[in-house]
Subunit: 253 residues, 2 copies
């Protein structure tokens, strides 16, 4: 008899059309799952692309209504960028980490460190930009609660965005909002295969789940929601704020 292999299913939910401000995301997600012959179930994790959350929440800016500050204008001129976009980036930021070679790396108001504060002109109409949700943990919480109301099931929800990182090429998807799942899995105190106690091993599973989902999302592939099934986790609460390293713990500030 074959050994039972542990298995995760990563399922891209096709069929979610263009999302507009006010759209009921949880309902669209449940409908998309149903359309794929699936129903969300207890313990499933739904990874939802930030872009559709921002759209549903109306976090869109029409650039012609943005008045750039002198700082934004100066920087835009120096690097041949749109001063109104720079202005949006600065407004969304708590702190500019680096501003060179045409790239602005900031700490967002949530504490995330990323390029352009998550302000983005892809997948929105020309002349508009999307901003990150004001409180992505609350966005995740709302989606999880609404799915529970509609389906009776308790799912984990992760709002994801693609971030660059120092030292390594390429972007990866990370979690910017979390509900219904603990974002960190702590192995400290467990023993390894040799019976030795593991130290200092805390895995950012919410980021790993976001990365796993990205493999089916693509950037232009119309798959903004991915369902992950089969991960046996204790049902626990958590938030993406737990993924933000405090300044005093961070060797790289």
């Amino acid at each position: 008899m074959p050994l039972k292999a542990a298995e995760l299913q990563i399922i891209g939910l096709a069929g979610i059309k263009e999302v507009a401000p006010g759209d009921p995301l949880a309902m669209l997600i449940v409908q998309a799952a149903t359309g794929c012959g699936l129903s969300p179930a207890d313990g499933d994790i739904l990874v939802v692309a930030q872009k559709i959350v921002s759209k549903a929440e109306g976090r869109l800016v029409e650039l012609r209504q943005v008045e750039p500050s002198p700082q934004a204008q100066e920087w835009a001129e120096a690097w041949n960028r749109d001063p109104r976009l720079i202005e949006c980036v600065l407004r969304e930021s708590r702190r500019v980490v680096r501003m060179e070679r045409g790239v602005i790396i900031v700490e967002t108001r949530h504490g995330f460190i990323c390029a352009n504060a998550g302000v983005d002109t892809s997948n929105v109409p020309p002349g508009w930009a999307s901003l990150l949700p004001v409180d992505p943990d609350a966005s995740a919480r709302r989606i999880a609660n609404n799915i529970h109301e509609q389906s009776g099931f308790r799912v984990g929800v992760i709002i994801s965005d693609t971030f660059g990182r120092p030292w390594r090429e390429g972007l990866v998807n990370v979690a910017i909002g979390v509900a219904g799942v603990a974002p960190l899995l702590d192995y400290r105190g467990h023993v390894d295969a040799c019976g030795k106690e593991l130290h200092a091993t805390v895995i950012a599973i919410a980021d790993e789940l976001a990365s796993a989902a990205e493999l089916l999302m693509g950037k232009a592939l119309h798959t903004p929601v991915v369902l992950i099934r089969g991960l046996k986790l204790p049902q626990r609460e958590g938030s993406a704020r737990q993924l933000v390293r405090s300044p005093e713990q961070d060797l790289f500030r």
Copy 2:
């Protein structure tokens, strides 16, 4: 009729026992897959934990044979660490990036930036440490070639390790060796859902695949190999060296 959902299967290959120097990894992996009722197939990706690759390649050091340098001794005393371990870390490093609060962040000889140069005492016998493979891309290439010889199938192979990162809590699995798959997926030139050309979007799928696999590996769970099936990628060559950002491109040096 339900829409066809895109789906990835992430399958932990159970049944790989303790690996010793000289063990034929490809054969052990094919046997483990068979034991789980699976056969590797064209286009599958195998994510293999660094630890078993290092063990199979004999990249183990007995600490009582390590003579610490004065620098290693000084630092070990200051932070109450084992000077022989510090010595191993320094020998594996090209450059020390940070050395404070008891943590050594280095650039390894491969160019990876990580804690302790990947020198690790978990999952090895007491008094020993494991080192990263000398050339993890070559390790991945060997495994892929040997699996092809034994099974006739062409799989992608990713050697993974868990790394910390600035700004965010928790470790994630990343790719340190790659063969038979391109580690970066380049969306530049594609159009988004609004018909706009995507700029600057290169996704580090090898890291995302490594992260996805970690969800089933755990640190102590005896699942050092994970098979990922269903990702439709062009079969292309690539290496983990492509994931190392060159100093002149890196805003964080």
